[in-house]
């Protein structure tokens, strides 16, 4: 086994994993605050990728600069989805129903994307997408470094909002107990709507990086959503830190096993870790033991 290849796989895993963590953060935030499992998160990532692609191809806007447009756009998309579909879900079956409703939303968006962009695979192309730089004999792709920095900035911003602002306090109170939060005067519905918007908005960034590192079409969302769900289950549903750790762990484990052993076992090895963790901690790495009932 080549130690250089292992280090390379470790670096790849951490850099790529951070982007998956960013995408999964939106999913776990939405679940944490609203008890909604947003199956549409995968297709929203692809929508973010298509928006960056369209801005880049038609207006020549750099994908990173384009985030100034795509993040607010997807925030609004999230608000509209919450208003049109999610808000109407109530009662004890809310979480289960959310899977069906958001799956329907996912199919609607997939159909619309297929009509607009066709099913042809596309990829965001810009100067740094295929380039890399060398450190100690290891080539590091710019796009993964930029993606890592972007994920770090956005996750830090999210952390700041959640832990250093009044709105963040409302979110955390809602995360802990929606009924108690409402009793102390927090507008839980407003908090939920904004959280859904934020959860969807982060897909713009994740989608842009995904679109620059993969050829994609609307169907790519199916591979993505399964991975994102696995990340938040491992990290603990509702835990932002858990999503970060699990996202990095997933890709790093897969990459190291692929290089050190064989790609055949890469996916399986991660699932093995997942099963072992869930046997010891059914609530995931950072999930709370007591299930919320609100």
């Amino acid at each position: 086994m080549n130690s250089s290849a292992l280090i390379h796989a470790l670096i790849d895993g951490v850099l790529t994993g951070s982007v998956y963590a960013l995408m999964a953060t939106g999913l776990t935030l939405i679940f944490g605050v609203m008890d909604i499992i947003n199956i549409a998160q995968g297709i929203l990532v692809i929508l973010g990728a298509y928006l960056s692609y369209a801005l880049s191809v038609h207006w020549g806007i750099d994908p990173f600069v384009g985030l100034l447009i795509t993040i607010p756009t997807l925030f609004v998309v999230g608000i509209v989805i919450e208003w049109a579909f999610i808000r109407r879900l109530k009662g004890p079956e809310k979480t289960a129903m959310s899977i069906l409703v958001t799956y329907a939303v996912s199919l609607l968006i997939e159909g619309a994307l297929n009509m607009i962009f066709t099913v042809n695979n596309v990829q965001i192309q810009t100067w740094y997408v295929n380039r890399s730089f060398e450190i100690f004999g290891i080539w590091i792709p710019y796009i993964y470094v930029f993606g890592f920095i972007l994920a770090a900035v956005l996750l830090s911003a999210l952390y700041y909002i959640l832990y250093r602002t009044r709105f963040g306090a409302s979110v955390r109170a809602s995360l802990a107990d929606q009924t108690a939060a409402a009793l102390v005067g927090i507008d839980v519905r407003r908090v939920s709507t904004i959280c859904f918007g934020i959860g969807v908005a982060v897909t713009a960034a994740g989608g842009m990086i995904y679109g620059a590192t993969n050829a994609f079409n609307a169907s790519s969302s199916y591979d993505l959503i399964s991975r994102l769900l696995i990340i938040i289950v491992l990290g603990g549903m509702g835990s932002l830190g858990g999503a970060l750790v699990a996202g990095m762990a997933m890709v790093t484990i897969e990459d190291i096993v692929a290089v050190a052993w064989s790609p055949v076992w890469s996916t399986m090895s991660f699932f093995l870790v997942l099963v072992l963790v869930l046997l010891v901690r059914p609530q995931g790495l950072f999930g709370k033991q007591s299930a919320r009932t609100a």
């Binding site: 993964y144 050829a215 064989s262 790609p263």
Partner: protein, 417 residues
């Protein structure tokens, strides 16, 4: 003595089972032996295609091919005087949905004939389901050994079985002068029934030619990030890379990672993806596509008169250029041609007669060339070609003995040149 509750439960289960068997028997009867259609009624052909999901690009190309064939047949008065009506449903690239679709098409929609779905992954379960009703399944994208090893007698594949696709490439590589021939090769493939069987065939020939295997690995179809695997291939420093990819995302993922790793092998061939014309170029760029090779059994500039006619019609209807027409379109069109030939020869729509006829060793001309099925439903009459992207053009490069083949661009230019 059976208790009352248990008795009714048992009665219920028995009734459901009996009804199912009756429905199956009815469907089988109507499918296998009816053979005639009332005057003025159309002949309905059931098809399940991947109109969304992983194979949606190929699925839509197949849909175009089937529809083009149906339009041509209807212009000429239909099949035995009956207009052709296609009943196309989407399976979302799912091997379970495809089974449900064909069961519904036959037992509920009562289609007269069936055409195959896209990819070996879906063709095998589909052919098994259709077989239970006694229907023939003529298909154009199920050439994996697993399809023919299932003991089915109703499946007929109009394309060359996949194990033969890479032969021209492997023979060309092995025939290179020793000084030019790569010394090492890396093999990496998705565990897909279309891609995986092609790899050992190439490896065997290249090994015999003295090309050493320095990397050989299979990865699960679920993998979406190819960076680590591509880096491992790059670390092997193989001079030739053979990639078992079933579409653009895999091959473009490897190409991007190779370029990022500054790894420039002398030759790269992929089992699928580069054959998808402008889609491939859009994903990887014209310069990076330069020198990438791919096998196929048909191409838009084929000199086959039937193929030329179909390509002209396709371009007129859908636009584009002859060289940009996907082989999927031709494969689907050929499925229709084979079925039409069988219907005319058997003078009806009796699936059992159609199956018997196609197993009789008859030779049928199609846009792909000549079709002649063996007892497993394989057609080895078709020819395999290798194509290569050269300065934005998709060109036939082997068999080298074919007058339409141009010189292979070898070694492959470095990335971006």
């Amino acid at each position: 003595m059976i208790k009352r509750g248990k008795f009714f439960r048992a009665l219920g289960v028995t009734s459901v089972a009996a009804s199912s068997m009756l429905m199956m028997a009815t469907a089988t009867t109507s499918g296998a032996s009816s053979g005639t259609i009332a005057k003025g009624k159309p002949v309905t052909i059931g098809v399940s295609l991947s109109l969304s999901g992983d194979f949606s690009g190929d699925g839509l190309a197949f849909k175009q091919g089937y529809e083009l064939w149906a339009a041509d047949v209807n212009k000429q008065g239909g099949l035995l005087g009956h207009k052709v009506k296609l009943d196309i449903v989407s399976d979302a690239s799912s091997p379970t949905q495809v089974v449900t679709n064909y069961q519904k098409l036959i037992s509920s929609d009562h289609v007269n004939l069936t055409f195959g779905p896209f990819s070996s992954l879906l063709t095998l379960p589909a052919a098994k389901a259709v077989s239970r009703y006694g229907y023939a399944m003529v298909e154009g994208a199920g050439g994996a050994p697993s399809v023919f090893q299932a003991g089915l007698t109703n499946v007929f594949d109009v394309e060359l079985p996949v194990i033969g696709w890479m032969l021209p490439y492997a023979h060309w590589m092995a025939s290179l002068p020793k000084s030019q021939r790569p010394k090492t090769a890396a093999y990496v493939t998705s565990n897909d029934p279309f891609t995986q069987p092609q790899i050992p065939v190439v490896e065997k020939i290249l090994k015999k030619a003295g090309i050493k295997t320095v990397y050989n690995s299979v990865f699960p179809a679920e993998v979406t990030d190819f960076t680590a695997i591509a880096d491992a291939v790059a670390a092997s420093k193989a001079q030739a890379v053979i990639i078992g990819s079933n579409g653009i995302p895999i091959i473009s993922g490897f190409m991007q990672a190779f370029e990022q790793a500054h790894y420039n092998p002398k030759n790269i061939v992929a089992t699928g993806g580069p054959d998808q014309g402008s889609q491939f170029i859009k994903a990887v760029g014209v310069k990076n596509a330069n020198g990438i090779m791919v096998p196929d059994t048909w191409y838009g500039l084929s000199s086959n008169p039937q193929s030329k006619k179909m390509v002209a019609e396709y371009v007129k209807q859908y636009g584009g250029t002859p060289s940009g027409v996907s082989a999927d379109v031709a494969e689907a069109y050929a499925v229709g041609q084979v079925m039409a030939n069988a219907v005319k020869a058997t003078k009806g729509f009796d699936n059992s007669k159609i199956i018997k006829y196609l197993h009789s060793g008859v030779t049928i001309k199609s846009v792909l060339g000549t079709e002649k099925f063996n007892k497993l439903g394989e057609s080895f009459s078709a020819t395999a070609f290798t194509f290569q992207w050269q300065n934005g053009k998709f060109l036939q490069v082997n068999p080298t003995s074919d007058p339409n083949s141009v010189k292979v661009l070898y070694p492959k230019p470095v990335w971006g040149k």
